[in-house]
Structure formats: structure tokens, C-alpha cells
Symmetry: C2
Subunit: 327 residues, 2 copies
Amino acid sequence: MHILILGAAGMVGRKLTERLLRDGRLGKDTITKLTLQDVVAPAKPDTTIPVETVTCDFAVPGAVEPLVASKPDTIFHLAAIVSGEAEADFDKGYRINLDGTRYLLEAIRAISGGYKPRVVFTSSVAVFGAPFHEKIDDEFFLTPLTSYGTQKAIGELLLADYSRRGFLDGIGIRLPTICVRPGKPNKAASGFFSNILREPLSGHEAVLPVSDDVRHWHASPRSAVGFLLHAGTMDLQTLGWRRSLSMPGLSATTGEQIAALARVAGPKVAARVRREPDPTIISIVAGWPRDFSDERARKVGFTTFEKTFDDIIRIHIDDELGGNFVN
Amino acid sequence: MHILILGAAGMVGRKLTERLLRDGRLGKDTITKLTLQDVVAPAKPDTTIPVETVTCDFAVPGAVEPLVASKPDTIFHLAAIVSGEAEADFDKGYRINLDGTRYLLEAIRAISGGYKPRVVFTSSVAVFGAPFHEKIDDEFFLTPLTSYGTQKAIGELLLADYSRRGFLDGIGIRLPTICVRPGKPNKAASGFFSNILREPLSGHEAVLPVSDDVRHWHASPRSAVGFLLHAGTMDLQTLGWRRSLSMPGLSATTGEQIAALARVAGPKVAARVRREPDPTIISIVAGWPRDFSDERARKVGFTTFEKTFDDIIRIHIDDELGGNFVN
């Protein structure tokens, strides 16, 4: 099985790559080739599996055709401009998140001879915008309040239509906010949800720019990779033509996050969170989803590794910090 | 006030043009210029109001810029490939219905200096696909089962984002199936809903290709024009950023349509409908909406001229047949 990952150098892409190479297989199929694409050079992993790395902007006309010409069986499409950047740069957001996705789908359609790859598209809960119910159900309409969310919602629609027309076999998974996100903050406005856990665990102060009662929807990086693997292997007939769905997660307030940090790592660590309200971030976050009904996703086999927010913190300590943190 | 109509030669476009020229105004504003565009030459109306007709394919790159360069105050975007054709010709449907719409929005955005026209986009109930509730409410998600519906749903998302970003002031109205549609059948699979009324009233036989209990959502051409005028003048603040909504209509089965025909025009006319089931049309129509909750649209001032299906038939006889029909 040949797997192509678009956006392989990003956080989720790197974790997916690691997991695929560790398993050596996707579902029942042995991986015979892995192609890693990103606009910054993806790291060349140390493995016996043939890995090709491609550094290019996939949203430039003609860039994606060579990537699909060798007919990868499964394509993980993780490439995107994040929410903050797509809002700041209107043209860039539409070019990468909309045009790029369409070029990919069109390049697949252009290959004749019954080529019909599995395409796993990472969408986002940003397709939903306030006002909504406290728990967003699986039939709630998509009313994004960001250009990023608009572009993701359009991607979902295209994926469903190209699947229905038989050009590919697509599934869109709306990832919760990934928490704890390792590494440096990116331009996503949701960064603080991870900062308030990651920074204190490594001995640094972190700023909470919103109040303690801001509720949000989270999943660990380990669960996110699990969602991708399941999306890459599950029987899509069960979804009908409604090919996008909200992934399972945990709903927690920032206060509950910090309380979990105190339980897992002690009050000294939790005390490294400093409250410093930022009106801009407060107003952005006010339009974000707080909680979901994830019945549909769980029914078709999507699961999380974490049962509580304490687990989310423990997974970070295990997977990123070698089991230790700075007390 | 300068008004631009894209798709002015189509049935709704012609009726909108007639009404605007008859009124001489849109809301409180006197019409000083009317620009009529279509891919087939729009008829040059006999009027003292300055009318410019433009024959062009608006979805060719560069075609729409000259149309918006003179900064029309209100743009009615009615140009589209209908459902049957968009399904038969994938490329053409995406080119006209998606790319064309995007070119229009981009051309408007490219004009600087605070230009922010009202853009009225005609969407469709085809943005909804089965399974759905018996009555589709205003928060139900868009799951189109045709490429046409997909393209309209994407148009709604783009319109909302361009409005939110301040580039234009857009509203998308999802028209019910227009009934009774005058003239010759077009490539829309919904044609029979009008054929079974229009043809018998002019002395011809008509074929009903589905059963008598197929329920669907209808509005008269007169009401459709009323929706457009209201969309062109109403205060859009009341909609927030949810800029598209389902228009009011009447839910009726084909059997109820024929019964109304018998009441209004007599049993002899109604007997001109011949039952001849067509499995292809039956299967297409099975995925179509049957009924709507139109509270949101009525709350913000959208109204219909018809109270019953009998009214829909009377409006056709009055507006299209000069008050007479063939008994």
C-alpha cells in the first residue's frame, strides 16, 4: 500500500508518519511506500520502508498532479493554512485551503482507469459558528464565522460530491482542538488551550487570556492520529454520502483544564498559569463551539484514548516529556 | 440606483426585469439604470429607463469585471446551470455555478473605495438531501445529493464569508420549485411539477412520471419575484452572518396539485394528466425536500402571494394565459 500525506511536516502529519512507520501497516495492508509532502521539507525518517519526501506548495497549479500520478492508495490531506493566518491573509487562505483542495480532487478525477483512492480530509470544528446549541448535534448546519471555517466547510462539500460521483472515496473528519499541542505556538487563536498546560509542565509561565469558564472541545494528539487511521481504513458505506463528521472529544472549561493540571502535576505547576484577559481573543473564542454530541462518530468506530482531561495531560507527559515534568 | 441582473434572460430574470421596469424603483430608490446580462441575448425592453444588455458567459475569467466596474448598487445573481445539466456535465456545472460565482465576488472585492453592493444570490432547496425531517427547519445541515446543490451550498458559504469580511452585503435565498413555470420545459428534473398544470391548461396532455403522493415545496413565479425584491431591499442586519435562508412556500403532493387543477379548471382539464411512472425520475425525486419550516423567512418579511395551491394555478392563468385556459 502506497500512502501519500499532504502537510506531513505539521504536528499531526509528523505524528501520523511516526505511527504509520512504527506499525508498518495501515489496517490489514502492509505499507510499501510513503510519500511525505509539505511546503517546508518533511524530515526524512529512519526506516526500511521506502519514503519519498517532496517539498512544494501543493496549491500551485500543476503541483499536486505529480504527487497523485503514481496512484497512492490512501491520501491523508492535512495541508492547510491555520485559522489565524487565513483570517489575516484572505487570498492566501482561499488559495491554500480552497483552491489547493480542489486541485487535489481534480488531479485524482483526471486519472482514468478506475483509480479511486481513499481521501482523508482533516476538517475542523471551526465549520460551526455561534449561536448554536450547547451540544452541537450531527445534523446542525455549518455556519462558520471565519474564512478558515468557510474553506473547510467548502472542502467537506466538495469531498462529498466527488465521492458521490465516484471519483474518489472520501471522508472528512472534524478534529477537536488538539490538546496538548506540543512544540511552539502557531498562529492558531486556540493556542492558549495548550499553552496553559504545556508551558507550566516544562517550568514556564503561561497566560490564560480568557476567563476560567470558557468551555471548549478537545482531543489528544494520540487520539487525533487514531481518528486518521480509522478514517483511512473504515468502511465508508456506513456514512452514506454524508462524508464528514465531528470527531469524539472531551468538553472542558479552562478552569477544569487547570484543575486537572493541579491534580496530575500538583498545585505548584498549576500556579504557573497567569490570568491576563485579552479582549480580542475573548471575542474570537466567544464564537467557538463548546460541546458536541459525538454519537455518530463513536457509532462508526471512532474512539479516544482519554476518558478524562487528566488523561489528556498524562498522554502529553508520556508522549512528549518522557514521563517527566518540571515540578 | 443602478441594478445589474446576471442571468437576466432566464424565466425568473425576465419576470424580475418586467417587475422592476413596471415599478420604476426598488424599494425607495428610483432605478436610473438597469444592466441585463445573460449568455443568450436578453430581450431589450421597451422603457424610458436606460437599459444596457450584455451578452456574455459571465464565468469566463475577466468577463464579470466590466459588469461591476460601474459599481451597480444592487446585483441580482441568477446565473446558473440547472440541476440536470450540472449533473450531466460535471465541468460545466462547476465552472458556471462555482467559478462564475467566485469571479463575481472577487470582482466586487477588487473594487476599492468602500464599494459594497447588495448581492442577492438565488440558491435552491437542492442544498438539502435526504434523509431529512419531514419539515426541514432553519438549522438543518446542508447535505446536497447533486452537484448543483453542492455548488449552490458553496455559493452560500462564500456569500456569507465575503459579507462578514465587509466586501459586499449579500443574501442567499433558497427558492422553492417555481410552479407553474411558464414556457417550454428546461433540463431541470423537477419539470413535471409544472408540466402537469401548464400543459392541461393549454389543451395538451402531460405526463406524471411519479406517484400521486410525491410531496414537494412550491412557490409561484410572482412570489419568486417578490422574494427577490424583498431580498434586494430588506435590512440584512437582522440575519446576522447567516445570510442564506429557505423561502416560504406551499407543500403539496402531486395528487393535491391535480385536485387543485380540477377545482380551478374542471375535471376535463385535470383528466389530461397521464400517469406514466419513470423509475429514473422517481429515484431522483426521492431525495428531494418535501416540506419546510419557513418561520425564519416569514419573520424577516418574506411573503407569498398564494395561500393555497388553487391560488398558484389562478396566478398562472392570470399572469401567463390572460385569464383564460382551454377547457
